[in-house]
Amino acid sequence: MADFTNKRILLVEDDNFLSELLSKKLMESKANVMRAADGEEAITMVKANPKFDLILLDLMLPKVGGFEVMEAINADPKIAGTPIIILSNLGQKNDVEKGVSLGAKKFLVKAILSLDEIVDAVAEIIK
């Protein structure tokens, strides 16, 4: 089982149910999980907190979309480079290319992955 002790993860997901299920799963591996429900809140939280070990980022978000969140992070030298895994139900070639070009470490399609598979993907990034 993955061990995320002392690892801080920001989960950005507007569907409260999905957010709860995934955060609970990550916390079973002892991660310190904070949650944002829209892009605006995500940017505020990223700027207001010490650098996260990882951001799990949905793309279709209220107020500010996921790609714009990545652009805002890239534009701020204090938080630029924070590892980001995109976690979306999109996943067309152009979405993946855009995500990677903006610096995403991985692009995961939520619906085709189990919660354990997502935890494994997280573990690969925050060893």
């Binding site: 799963k25 079973e28 209220p62 999109l90």
Partner: protein, 252 residues
């Protein structure tokens, strides 16, 4: 039935844009297929994770598990509703049209049922709903399932896009018509989007900002169903002020 016929994108009727280049038309179709795939993937994803969490998660106790499964069940219903909505739209577009299964209906009952079904949205968005306790029976002759689909869409829009706002509902009779008014003080619709209001799958720019995941057949189907019942719909809206929808349906 191919995908073009399912989404009614083979022709230029119903406000669907047909481009001269077949490549562009395919792209247009793809855009909406993708939007619908996304709309289906989201609840299916949630249902999968719900089951996953109960099967493989730490034992959280029966009551917690029941809540998770209940939410997963609701998500599956949501996916089924999306599929039904698409099929109804396809049926309406087919050359044979759709056979209305008409019967005597009390509009009050339909509105009551819709308000019950959308109770979760009223609660989630903290809507202050103003609707008389007692509705005067208003009998119309119509297809229950189709009217449900059509009017649910209108109420859903009012509740979804008026977070923490007010929604006023009135059902009255004027001459030989039943008049349903749904007035909200929500995000409204801008002038440019108003001109595309009845296009299939069209969504206003500000609607996408509030709820990017929602994506249905929309007012296209709503208007068509009302007109199939000999009625009419009028929408008046102002950006950031709110929207008023008036539906007139002939009384039996």
């Amino acid at each position: 039935m191919n995908l073009f016929s399912i989404f009614g994108l083979g022709g230029n009727s119903h406000g669907v844009r047909k481009t001269e280049s077949s490549g562009k038309e395919e792209h247009f179709t793809d855009t909406y297929i993708l939007a619908l795939v996304h709309k289906l993937r989201t609840p299916l994803n949630a249902a999968r994770w719900a089951l996953d969490s109960v099967i493989h998660g730490d034992d959280t106790g029966k009551e917690a598990q029941r809540e998770i499964l209940n939410e997963g069940y609701n998500k599956i219903i949501s996916a089924i509703n999306t599929v039904n909505e698409i099929l109804k739209a396809a049926e309406m577009d087919s050359k044979d049209g759709v056979d209305l299964k008409k019967e005597k209906l009390n509009l009050c009952d339909i509105v009551d049922d819709i308000l019950k079904t959308l109770g979760y949205l009223i609660k989630r968005n903290e809507i202050k709903l103003e609707y008389g306790d007692k509705c005067n029976p208003t009998i119309i002759f119509g297809d229950r399932e189709m009217l449900d689909l059509s009017l649910t869409n209108l109420f859903d829009n009012a509740f979804r896009y008026s977070p923490k706002g007010n929604v006023f509902v009135a059902l009255t009779r004027e001459g030989g018509m039943a008049k349903l008014v749904i007035k909200d003080d929500g995000i409204g619709i801008d002038k440019e989007d108003m001109s595309h209001l009845y296009e299939k799958f069209h969504r206003g720019k500000n609607a996408k900002v509030v709820d990017p995941n929602e994506n249905g057949v929309g007012l296209y189907a709503t208007k068509k169903i009302i007109e199939m019942h000999g009625g009419k719909i009028e929408v008046d809206s102002e950006l950031n002020k709110g929207t008023t929808v008036e539906v007139d349906l002939p009384i039996d």
